[in-house]
Each structure stands twice: as structure tokens, then as C-alpha cells.
Amino acid sequence: MVPFNILVAVCLGYVILLFLVAFAAERRAERGQTGWLRSPVIYTLSLSIYCTAWTFYGAVGYAARSGLEFVTIYLGPTLVFVGWWIVLRKLVRIGQAQRVTSIADLISSRYGKSNLLGVIVTLICVLAATPYIALQLQSVTLSFGVFASETPEGWALPDQSATALWVAGGLALFTILFGTRNLDANERHHGVVMAIALEAVVKLVALLAVGVFVVWGVAGGIGEVIERIDASPIADWPLKPGRWIGLTFIAGAAVLTLPRMFQVMVVENSDERHLATASWAFPLYLFLMSLFVLPIAVVGLGQMAPGANPDLFVLTLPLSEGRGTLAMLAFLGGFSSATSMVIVASIALATMVSNHVVVPIWLALRQGGARTPGDVRGLVLMARRVSIAALLALGYTYYHLSGGSGALAAIGLIAFVGVAQILPAMLGGIFWRGATRIGAALGLSLGLVIWLYTLYLPSFGPEGVFSATVLAEGPWGLGWLRPQALFGIEGIDPLLHAIYWSFTLNTGAFIVGSLLSFPTPVERMQGLAFVSAFDRDAGARGWSRGGAEAEDLLSMSQGILGAEEAQSFFEAEAGVQGKAGFLPDTTPEFIERLERRLAGAVGTATAHAMIAQFAEGAAVTAQDLLAVASEAQQILEYSTQLEAKSEELARTARALQEANDKLRDLSVQKDTFLSQISHELRTPMTSIRAFSEILMDPELPGELQQRYAEVIHEETIRLTRLLDDLLDLSVLENRKVQLNIKVANLHDLLDKAIQTASNTRPERVFTIHRDASAEHMPVITDTDRLVQVFINLVSNARKYCDAERPELTILARKRGGRVVVDFIDNGSGIPKGAQRLIFEKFSRLTDTQRAGGAGLGLAICREIMANLGGTIAYLPGQGGAAFRVALPVRPETVRTAEAA
């Protein structure tokens, strides 16, 4: 016998182990070692969240009540997985191509990025999941109760709802910790997936162990088990054809449409080929989970007291045989089944709620719309955390109100029928181009209403929503509206009744609605992309022309993806176009890719709406679609090779164009260079000459003599500095500079630079934000030169930042072997046209801003960074003027010297 307090300790230990596994997996993934984290075995094991506590405890109870019927729940999914080539493969392909974040997102994206559909699907899923989560809490609480009642020497079980509350709280904590760490582009959660894979193993091993013990330990082997089955109350198999087929169908549908299954099957999928393994391994898992269900049920029925709850045989059988350790293992198995379901389901639902409800509402409420989105990322993460907590609270409330009664199997089936309502819209969406948003909305809403009316609400019992009278005579005495005998057709099994009517009307409305309505251009495009997911380059582009400003898009994307992510995405895209810097041309292709990238974080509908604010009027029209179609006809004659070549040409042309523009600007600058030098030299010379002539006048008063000598002195210093700068620049440009490589702490270098630069406009109150802990890192470089660059940037900010309360933010970090330091002020920044000229010699932005320099500072900075093997660039879209300095952690020369 296991004392209850030991059980609690084991339970806590197990939870800590899960935390550690999840944490270790996250750490590995962060370091990019995803190797075996993403193997087909892990993928298959993660699919096992199909088997919840409903399977672990409920299947035996189901078998004890209805014999072999329980197996239909596993036959349906088996058929779907064995037939993976038909549906699953396409779903996964579409999910990856469109960066789908949830099943609601899939439906919304397919039907013209309609958020209405996303909301309907989210609603269905939340309604279906609430009792399901309650069911998991109930099973954990019940299993605790079993141990508590058996062991009076242990702790008394507190209060059943208190136990459930603790479990719900713990699960919320785990899920928030590992499920909302980031807005990963593909919504992948390595830690969570690893943890549920581990739980999958535990529950399988536990159930098999109990099964083996029951067959060979309690009964005397297979032969005796068969004899016992024949002698048991469930010896005969009263197969009801309708239920047999209906349940198989509904289970097959649910495995495709359950939000948690969609999450692990499609969203977390990293490689389409894993499906091939899962196609046989997952049915095998289900097979093994079901193998001993019947023996356990039969032996339990014979062995246990007549009143014993068959839902708990898995636990009570070993306990009654005095096998405390085995019971403990079984307990952990049930605990694993319950927790893994709750974790994944709440992550999947929280994603839907945040992407389809919270963010759209927030966007609609904001005055500025998506143009000034600010920190959407933080909002989304917070929305997800709150949603997770709210879902568990809902589940707990349901459990509390329903009093933890009712057989487990009934609740599970109600949820299955609910989510299965999504099936027509889903299958229609991926196989039928004619399916439209209106059809899908009609079908889904009708299915939802009938499911609620015929199954969900009656499930609360006569004390619940529908009184016994309503059930028997229909609302307001309307007999044909009786919830369990619609249209006066009586005598159908209530579950089948609900399945039959909801599916018939749902599918019917979906088809008729689709046939009668006309899709919008975006719908038609998405329809093509989904249905022809396997054709190369299927679908037209979503945006016909650019029209958006890259800089605006960048600053919006930073609010969603995070600054780092967004900048590297834009930089890479600019690189693909053959451009340097962070601002690619806003071609339709680029906008399309950006939209997908954003969709991975906030869902398709929201991403589309946000982009639409910038590319107003540029969204594709029906005419564009037709144009694309006829264009495509012509392109047919050209081979793909030609296409690739023309793309290459376009890239080269763009690069050439850019080089050309720059050359032209440079030649204009070269022309003015000499006259600028001349001007810069002549100005101090003029003062010097004029005042020296004045000083020659013997009658000049003494105090003026003094003053004019000072002027001459000042001007000679200015002249010297100018000559120094010019000389410095020419040495740097010819790469003849002698570098003095030292090791230093970046933090100290920045300190030094800020100290020195404070001499510039010392009268200004100037706030500098720094993160000292991030700055402590060694740099190996010519530290004096680096400080020179820093001084220049800081004093430029002091000089030119035109904000009322000037602020400068310095961000330092290490990225891919490079030290990156950003200097961002809160002024009005540098206009786009001038951004690429500021690093040229004598390029002062305006003549009014001649604060003593000759316009050589940034040119020198650029040359210094080039000499140090690094770069300096203007960083657009940061709100103010922003410069990024990047240099290798150790210079090239040191590396080669060490290698030698």
C-alpha cells in the first residue's frame, strides 16, 4: 500500500522531471541542436495526446459497460492515419506553406483570410474543450481520491475541489511557462513537445504493465482471460450498426479537427516525412493502448465489488491485489494522460483566442490602426497567458458546477461531435475550389447550433439548461423541436441523432451556400493555393502592387516579431533583391512573404489586415486575377529555367541600378569635393588673414589685440583639425592604418566614449539609456579607434537630436560571432533619401547644422569600421536616428595569427 503523502511526493517529483525535460529541450533548441528533438519518433509520441485520461481510465469503464464498442474511438483515427496520403499529407503541406497557427487559422486563411470564420471555429473549440478539460481534472481528482480512501494513515485528501484547483493551477503554470515563451514563427514549442512525448511513454508503459499484470498475474493467461470474457456480463456483443459506424466516423473526424491534435500534427510538424512513420506507428500506439482494455474490464468486473466504478479499474485492480507500486505507475500514467491533454489543448486554444479575438478587437479599438502597432508581441503573449489561465478556470468551473459526475466517455464524445463540425469546411477547403466563405460560415454556424441544441445543452441533465418537459415535449410545446427528436423522428440514439442532424445540415448548408455565393478574389486565390498545394508555384500573389513604404513595414514588423527577428528578415529580403541595408523594395513577392511571416505569429487574418493598412488599394482585385490567369497562359511557353534567369537578371539589374545611382551621386560629390575642401580651408584662412592685417595696426587698443589674437588661434586650431581629419581619412581609405589591437570590456569603452562626448553641447540635458549587464563583454580590436566611432555617434546624437527631451538608447549584444551595438535617439531621424549619403565625405545634412565639424565624422567612422573588419549602418524604422555598429568578436588578423 502506498501512503498518500508518498504519492504526492512522487507526483511532485514527476512534475519536476517534466519541467526539467521541457527546460532541457528548450535549451537545446535555442542552441540550434534540434536533431533528435525533431525525430519521427518524438512526432509520433506527441500525437499520443489523442489518448487522454478518457482513454486511460475511461476506455476500461466504457468496455465494462458496452463491451467492444470502445474500440471505435481508436479505429477511426487508425483509418485516417493509414490513409495519410490522402488528407494528412495535404494538411501538413498546407500548414507549412501558409504558416498556419491553429485550426481556426487554417479555416480563416482558406476562406479569404476571414476573421469571422476564425471566431466561429474558436468558439466551437472553446465550447468543446471546456468539459473535456473538466474531465481531465475530474480524473486526476478521482484517482487521488482512490489513494486517499485506501490509506487512512496518510494525509486525509483535502477537499476534492481543492485538489482539482491545485491541479488546474499547476497545469496553468506549466503551460504558461513553456507554451508562451515566444511567438515562434511556426508556433513550435520544443519543450512542451518533449514533455508530452515523455508522458506518452509513461502512459503506454503504465497501461501495458497493468494489462500484463491482469492477464498473467490475476487471471492465469490468455486462455483464462478468454474464458472469463465468455463468462462475463459483456460476453455477448450487442453491436449496434449505427453507433459502430457513427462513432468510428466521429473519432476519425475528431482526430483531424481537435485543436490539440491539429497543434501537434500540423503546427508542430517540422518535416512532412515524419508523417510516413506516424502513419503506422500512431495506429500501433493506439492498438497497444487498447489491447488490454477488455481483459482489465472483464477481470475488474469479476474481481471487484459490484458497486466499484469501472472507470477506475486500472487503478483499483492493482490496489486491491496489494500491488502498490504498480498502482502508483498506473496513477502516473493517468496523470500523464490528463496533464498532456490539458497542456496542449490550452496552448492551441490560447493561440486561437489571442489571434482571432483579442488582437482583432485591439486593432479595431485603436485609433491609429496597425500603422503604429507598438508592442503587438507583448500584447499577444499576454493575451495567450491570460487565455490559458482563463481556459483552465473555465474547465475548473465546469468541473465544480457539474459536481464531477457523469461517465467519462459521455463527455468525451460530446466534445468529439462538437469539433467534428469543422470537418466539412476543412475537407471542402482543401479539396474543393468552389467552397466559399459564405458556405463555410453557414455550415459551421448551423452545425454549432444543432450540436449545442441536441447534445451539448441536454448533457447538463434535467436540472441544467433544458428541463425534462422541454426534452419530452419540445420548447413551447413544439413537438418537432424536441432536442433529441428533431422533426418528430423519434427513437434514434441521442448521440447518433446529434451526429446525423448536425452533419447533414452542416454539410448541406456548406455545399448549398458555396454553390450559390461568389467568392472574393482573395478567397479564390487562397482556394487555389490550398487545393493545389502540391503544384509548384500554385496560386497568384495576394498583392498586386507594392505601394507600401518599407520603413513603415519594418517598424510595424518589429512590434510583432521583435526587433532582432524583423531586422534580420528585412536584411535577408533586401539581400535576395540584391540590395544592401535593411529596406527591400516593396515588391508583391516581398509583401507576400512578409505577410506569411507575420501570420506565423498573429494568424493569417490579422496579418492580412495589418499589411492591408499599408498597401491600401494594392490588394488584388478580380481583374488582377484574370490578368494573372492570362499572363500565366503566356508564361506557360517559357521554361522554368528562363524564369529563373529573368529573376537573376532582375536581381542583377536592381543591384546595377543601385550601384549606378550611387555612382552618380558619388561623381557629383567628387566634383564638389575639391571645392568643398577649398571652402572649408578658405573659411578659417579668411579670419586669420583679416585679423592679422588688423593686428598690424599699431593703434589697435590692447584689449582688442588680445581678443583678435585669440580668434586667430582658434581658427588655426580649426584648420589643423580639418587637416588631421583629411589625413586620417586618406590613411584609413588606403587601408594603411596601423591597428593597435587590445582586449577591452565593451562597457568601459562605451563609458569612455560617453564621457568624452559630453563636451559636445554640454548645456543640453541628455538622457542615455544603457543596459550595463548586456554591455559586459570582451572585444578584441583597436579600442582607441572603436571609441572614436562611439564618440562620434554619441556626439552626433547630442548635436542633431531634435527632440525636446533628447534621449539616446544604446543596445549591445552578441549575435553570430559579432558584437552589435545600436545607438538609437528619439529625434526625427534622417529622411530616407539622405540615409545612404550620410556616410559620404562632407555630407552635412543641412547647412544650418554646422556645429563645428566639416562633415567628415561619419565618413571616418565608416572607414574605421571597415579597417576593424566591421560595419556601421543606418538602421531605419526606429523612430529616431539609429546607427548600428557591428564588429567581429576578434579580428581576422588575430585569428589567422593564432591559426599559424
Partner: protein, 122 residues
């Protein structure tokens, strides 16, 4: 000699020098340091001679000169243009725009005085 000179020059030291030179020669010198508001300053001061720098913040000396020539009330004022951009094009541009005299920086103080005297007398 005596009369009013308006000096439009942004470099403070150069302005100071010219003011001293002309003041010692007996001129009343007013000055203005940027391109913006230069025309208003000219109307206000109504100088006998205008000394104008070419490269000014805000508006260039040439622009001011052209506006001046377009305004019949001001077009009579003789203008001495100063430039740090040497001879050649700058001189042509200035004279094309209607400058009476052009002197390149750096200059001899005596040249400035002589030019102003000559222009005021003419």
C-alpha cells in the same frame, strides 16, 4: 566717407573682422547671419552698400541677389559678393545675378574698404 553698410555673413569671426574694418573707415555697419530673413533685413536697414556672402545657411547668396534685383525698390543697392569658393564659376554666377563686385576669400582688408568706398561713391 560715411554711409550704411549691411553685412550678411554667417561665419561669426569673418563678420567680426569685416565689421571692424568698415567701422574704422567710418561706415555704420549692421549685420545679419543667415539666408532666411535677409531680404527683410535689407528693407529694414536700407543700406548704401550690401556685403553678401555666397554660402549661407537657409538660402544661398545668389538667391538673395536674384530676389533683390527683382524688387524695384531694392534693385538699386550695389552689392559686394564674398565667396570662399574661389574664382571662376562663383564669380560668373555672382556677376550674372547682378553683383557689382566680387571678392574671393581670403581677402586683403584694404580691398574690401576700397570696394565699398567705390560702390558707395558710384
Amino acid at each position: 566717407m560715411s554711409g550704411r553698410v549691411l553685412l550678411i555673413e554667417d561665419e561669426p569671426h569673418i563678420a567680426e573682422a569685416i565689421r571692424y574694418i568698415l567701422a574704422r573707415d567710418g561706415w555704420a555697419v549692421a549685420s545679419h547671419a543667415e539666408g532666411q530673413g535677409a531680404l527683410e533685413a535689407i528693407r529694414r536697414e536700407a543700406p548704401d552698400v550690401l556685403v553678401l556672402d555666397m554660402m549661407l545657411p537657409g538660402r544661398s547668396g545668389i538667391d538673395i541677389l536674384e530676389d533683390l534685383r527683382a524688387d524695384p525698390a531694392l534693385s538699386g543697392i550695389p552689392v559686394l559678393v564674398l565667396s570662399a569658393n574661389g574664382q571662376g564659376e562663383a564669380r560668373m554666377a555672382a556677376e550674372g545675378a547682378g553683383a557689382a563686385r566680387f571678392i574671393a576669400k581670403p581677402f586683403a582688408n584694404a580691398d574690401i574698404v576700397a570696394a565699398v568706398r567705390q560702390m558707395a561713391g558710384a
